[in-house]
């Protein structure tokens, strides 16, 4: 047998189509492995980079994160007048870093091209005369047989190495100085009410559409299905105009600015409305699938629709409610457009996605900022996703195949 069933609804393991020869199995393993690697490497790269030392991150690819990283630099040991007499010869002494700072020099040279030629500790003949010896900690001694007379101050090029370093500094820096922490709070502020409010409204409507008889029921179901695919772009301008009018009228009546047209309330209501078609559709499909006998026995016992709904249908629909809640939460947390339009772009109002776009513009090449900020923004959905994947998948299946 070819496969092992791991989901409870598939009881019997069965081979799928392709020939059952060994070579075919191996190819399947390799092909799938290649695809999985292709799918995961971008995220893995981001995660690894976000915990690397920021200098190492800027200078080498994350796939080299575990290897020793090197850095090329140059400094000037000094000019001829720095030479002092020591016995029968002259010398310039000092440290290439100024002071030893923990970095280790591996190789050095007098030009950029010969930077890798001389290992630290070995002497090097200088074109300006004399012999220089650079120690791994940066100390150098430049010996001259007689007083040197060269002009200018030549450079010494050197390669320093540092062991791989992993740190949470990037996260601390991003949370304390770029407003990401504030945005995190803003995202939570937007997401909680926008996830909870539509559930109750949708559940009542879904019950009515599934189990009650009334005129236009078919039409309303069709409307909901139609609205599922209406691009958000169609709603933005008219809603913004409504919000402006409402805010202006309230402020006009009050005689002062007490409400803004762009507010959290506005975003909550907008997300609630935009989530409703999917919520009603999912819940109605689910409730319609509940056994008719349950409803009928409840009716015979004299329970009203209200009672049947609150005491039986609502608890039974928990899986569908959970599916929708996960969908809605992920969609709101990941949304950029609605937040941008209805909350505005002020610094203290930005949600995580908007902040990330801002940082992309501001810190385009500071990958230590971008990788850490991006990971902070995706960590919540990833936790939700991996812990509640079953409900998520169930919702997806109900939402698009039924």
């Amino acid at each position: 047998m070819a496969s092992i069933a791991t989901t409870p609804d598939v009881v019997q393991a069965r081979p799928v189509g392709l020939p059952k020869v060994k070579i075919g199995r191996l190819a399947a393993h390799l092909a799938l492995l290649a695809l999985v690697v292709l799918w995961t490497f971008p995220t893995v790269g981001l995660l690894i980079s976000s915990v690397r030392d920021k200098d190492q991150l800027a200078l080498s690819g994350w796939w080299t994160a575990l290897s020793h990283s090197t850095l090329m630099s140059a400094s000037r040991p000094g000019s001829a007048d720095k030479a002092v007499q020591a016995g029968d010869h002259w010398e310039i002494k000092g440290n290439l870093f100024g002071n030893p700072n923990g970095q280790t020099i591996e190789t050095y040279g007098a030009t950029n091209a010969t930077i890798g030629k001389t290992p630290a500790g070995q002497p090097l003949n200088m074109s300006d005369g004399g012999t220089i010896t650079v120690q791994p900690n940066g100390d150098f001694a430049w010996d001259f047989p007689q007083q040197p007379t060269f002009s200018g101050a030549p450079r010494i090029y050197y390669v320093t190495g540092s062991p791989p370093r992993f740190t949470l500094e990037n996260y601390i820096a991003v949370l304390t100085s770029t407003g990401v922490a504030q945005s995190f709070i803003n995202s939570i502020t937007v997401a909680i009410p926008s996830t909870v409010i539509p559930i109750m409204i949708a559940a009542f409507a879904a019950y009515a559409l599934a189990w009650m008889q009334f005129p236009f029921r078919g039409f309303i179901v069709a409307l909901v299905v139609g609205l599922l695919v209406v691009p958000l772009q169609m709603s933005l301008i008219p809603l913004l105009r409504i919000y402006n009018v409402v805010a202006n009228n309230i402020n006009g009546l009050a005689g002062q600015n007490i409400v803004e047209s762009k507010s959290y309330l506005g975003v909550w209501l907008a997300h609630t409305a935009f989530g409703l078609p999917l919520a009603i559709y999912l819940l109605r499909n689910y409730m319609a699938g509940l056994p008719r006998e349950i409803m009928e026995s409840a009716r015979i016992d004299g329970a009203s629709h209200f009672k049947t709904f609150t005491t039986m249908v609502l608890p039974l629909s928990f899986p569908a409610l959970a599916s929708f809640a996960i969908f809605q939460f992920l969609w709101i947390w990941n949304d950029l457009l609605v937040a941008l339009v209805f909350l505005g772009a002020q610094d203290n109002r930005q949600v995580l996605t908007a902040r990330l776009v801002n940082l992309l513009g501001q810190y385009g090449n500071n990958w230590e900022v971008l990788t850490a900020a991006a990971f902070i923004s995706i960590v919540v959905p990833l936790i939700v996703f991996f812990s509640l994947q079953r409900y998520f998948v169930r919702g997806l299946l109900a939402g698009s195949v039924k």
Partner: protein, 362 residues
């Protein structure tokens, strides 16, 4: 109700005991959100419970009434109750979705400020506008490439994963990008495409591979046509997991007898896959395809975050945002929105007919 009071008290008095201003303002903000949730739940409860209670009270029936009255009142109650259940949802849908659609169509026939009627002028502008055509053509590319590759790759991964013991882990990992925001995905992939000048160690994977092969590194995002494809890859990366999950479920639904019969007839694996399994799940493939098509039409975040339409990567949704919120032109913005809507309408009609057909069989 009690919860409401508790949250309010904490918010009003206790939070300020924190000396750190950032902590206390953050707490205020979150507690305000929690308060809003409690408030909304309370309002919902009051409305649904209250309206039902009122209905039952004012149209109550008892034994002292005539049979006629009882029947009439019962009928009235069951006529009104569904509307009580559905009213809040209907209000939201009409105000936030139905009315705006009509209003957007109206605005597309008006000028920049939505005041003077200009007829089809905005549409004529769109047809003659180079930027619009570029966005439309790019969108066409997105519409062909993204659903095609997402569906095909999803199908391949579903088929492979369902016959290997670690298939479920593989599916989880491929599915994961579905949870990541388009903006987050954009940052992830911008890092893959990152460019540093020649001679410097590359930190982007793509340029890392290219330089390892001895070729010069490229600033990928700035190369027209190729850059659009690189942006599409981001969406394919996200949507393949969706296609995979749906198609995997459909593949499991193919009856074992059909496959067995084909195997007895001597069909090989590829014949079974293309001649039997694909036709069996064809309906699902169409559903996946159209769902991804809708997502593609609305794609805004990826282009907005990666290039903001520079380097010839513009798409309609982003072009619309630019006209509407950067140029403040209601007419032209609405026109582009309506054009996006026109492409969606056939899918919408098809969806509605499918849903109606299902109800017939229920």
């Amino acid at each position: 109700m009690a919860l409401l009071v508790v949250v309010w008290v904490i918010n009003a008095y206790l939070v300020d005991l924190f000396s750190d201003r950032l902590v206390s303002t953050s707490l205020h903000q979150i507690l305000n959100a929690v308060f809003a949730v409690c408030m909304a739940l309370a309002v919902c409860f009051l409305y649904f419970w209250g309206s039902n209670w009122l209905l039952d009270k004012f149209l109550a029936t008892d034994h002292s009434m005539t049979v006629d009255t009882v029947t009439r009142r019962d009928a009235t109650r069951s006529n009104i109750r569904p509307w009580l259940f559905i009213l809040p949802a209907l209000l939201f849908l009409v105000i936030y979705l139905v009315y705006p659609v009509i209003e957007t169509v109206r605005l597309s026939l008006f000028d920049k400020y939505g005041q003077t009627f200009v007829g089809a002028e905005n549409y004529a502008w769109a047809l003659g506008d180079g930027g619009f055509w570029q966005a439309a053509l790019n969108n066409l590319g997105w519409l062909i490439i993204v659903p095609l590759f997402s569906t095909a790759l999803g199908l391949i991964i579903a088929t492979l994963a369902d016959r290997l013991w670690w298939g479920n882990i593989a599916k989880s990992l491929v599915f994961m990008p579905m949870a990541i925001s388009f903006v987050g995905a954009s940052v992830i992939w911008k890092f893959v495409y990152a460019y540093k000048g020649p001679g410097i160690a590359q930190i982007g994977v793509l340029n890392g591979i290219v330089t390892a092969m001895g070729l010069p590194p490229q600033a990928w995002i700035t190369i027209p046509i190729l850059n659009s494809i690189l942006l599409m890859i981001i969406l394919i990366w996200i949507q393949t997991g969706f296609a995979m999950v749906i198609l995997s479920a459909a593949l499991r639904g193919v009856p074992e007898e059909t496959l067995e019969a084909a195997r007895i007839d001597g069909a090989n694996g590829f014949r079974i896959f293309f001649d039997i399994m694909i036709p069996q799940i064809w309906g699902t493939i169409i559903v996946v395809w159209t769902t991804i098509t809708i997502t593609v039409l609305k794609v805004f975040d990826i282009v907005f975050a990666m290039t903001n339409g520079e380097f010839q990567t513009q798409v309609l949704a982003n072009y619309m945002y630019r006209w509407m919120f950067i140029s403040g032109d209601y007419g032209k913005g609405s026109t582009i929105a309506v054009i996006i809507m026109l492409v969606v309408i056939p899918i919408m009609v098809w969806n509605i007919r499918r849903a109606n057909a299902e109800q017939g069989t229920r």
